[in-house]
Symmetry: C2
């Protein structure tokens, strides 16, 4: 059996940066260290941060009395940042620079009088954050259907969740073209996401089994599994190596492995080791 | 036989305004009166202006020694306007206000540092005019294929020829979304064009013969004929009533009549009269 690991698998730039900032903070700072929401959407990493570094995830600023609060790569809501500041907490801002740019653009667009549409998932923390940066009402939509009640506007400004598929941005832009005389669009989609998606889709085309490794609570990992399964129906989304069942490999010649942006290398390595252990033939990477 | 005339047929707002301005100019001004290019793309109207009002079409400012120059609804190139001014000609600017707005937007976008793409036909006088209003290099394209050599840009600004089909603007916008981080789009397409196209298409669906009346040199009339013929293969593009051949009406129960934005009412009325004369049944309008 051959195992192929997607080159782009593992942490993306923003996640790697946030983990490094949390690790540095844990080694340099005394007192309580907290993250606002889990640092990344990967339970294994969050557990490691708690156990090894004493960094605990809290859901709201209210739950933190004093100490340091780390803003995760998805960013936070403007009101949460203000609350943390007002409370005198030490803020370590690990917001991904690409997300930060999108937040600034939302502020700029509302200031310039644009009615802002954020293309993304309503309940995703990045989108909730983005929305809060506008000084006027903001619409969130993943498709034109969600904008049917939007009246005709003079100026529409559009930004995207950094991990949204380009097709969603395209369809909203197309719709808004008919809804406004002027439209300002910032393609804030992070390239890493589309490269990972394309590469994983390509890999899925050439294997008998596709393993997508990553948090079940990670939107980008779930999306990756969705893409791969449309190409290779035999696609499995796992969080840890222990989930791999030997019978999945019956008759399988080639296995593809990919992962979401918040999956650490060691979790991927463990999955590959488990595959190797089941089938003792040499591995080609 | 029943004859149905599209409600939206006849001059559009900009053409009507230009004709009125030319007529007023002819009645109030002494000395030579010229238009820069034919006032509208309709040979019958241009001939009437020459014969009845003494307004002559010239192709360039060089051909006009003195007197008044009327800028047609399509607008003119910035350098032509400058040349006319430098020559001391009396300028009557009948540029359609919607075209003028698009010209101003091209100037504004290039000033703001956008690489400007004009969605339209390279050889159309309106587009040649629009292009001249930019202070930097400008691309003209009707489809993404014409932009393949365009490098990745930081900021792309897009305006459209006022009579271009929305689908062309959509496809260029979609392409540019992948070519730039920031995109500013002005939907400068005139509503009258799309209303006329939609109404004519609807009419073509319910008749046995579709007559599209208008200048063979009129891009919007040709486009209308193209749209109607995809729905009703029995579509004829005529310029004047005299072209209607009685055998076209053999076995025809319902005729639809539509026209381009530069077709005067009297040319349409003549076509309807000719249809009535061939078939003596009462006409329903």
């Amino acid at each position: 059996m051959e195992i192929f690991v997607a080159k782009s698998s593992g942490f993306c730039f923003g996640v790697k940066r946030a983990i490094n900032m949390a690790d540095r903070c844990a080694s340099e700072t005394s007192g309580g260290i907290y993250t606002l929401g889990p640092l990344i959407h990967n339970p294994q990493v969050v557990k490691r941060l708690e156990d090894a570094s004493g960094v605990y995830a809290k859901n709201t600023v209210d739950e933190i009395v004093k100490g340091t609060v780390i803003i995760r790569s998805h960013g936070a809501k403007l009101e949460e940042l203000k609350a943390a500041k007002d409370k005198g907490l030490n803020i370590v801002d690990a917001t991904c620079p690409f997300v930060k740019k999108a937040q600034e653009l939302v502020t700029e667009l509302t200031r310039e009088g644009y009615f802002v549409v954020v293309v993304g998932e309503k309940d995703h923390p990045e989108v909730k954050g983005l929305k809060s940066f506008g000084s006027t009402e903001i619409k969130v939509a993943e498709s034109p259907e969600e904008l049917l009640d939007m009246p005709r506007m003079k100026k529409i400004g559009i930004v995207a969740q950094t991990t949204v598929p380009i097709e969603k941005l395209e369809s909203v832009v197309r719709y808004c073209l008919l809804k406004a005389t002027e439209m300002k669009v910032f393609n804030t989609i992070c390239n890493a996401t589309s490269i990972r998606q394309k590469e994983s889709a390509e890999l899925a085309r050439h294997v008998d089994l596709m393993l997508v490794v990553g948090g079940k609570n990670s939107a980008n990992t779930r999306r990756l599994a969705e893409i791969c399964s449309t190409i290779q129906p035999c696609t499995r989304h796992i969080e840890v190596a222990g989930e791999i069942s030997p019978e999945w490999l019956d008759g399988v010649q080639k296995v593809g492995v990919t992962s979401g942006a918040s999956t650490p290398d060691w979790v991927i390595a463990e999955a590959v080791d488990k595959l190797k252990a089941i089938c003792c033939t040499p591995c080609v990477k």
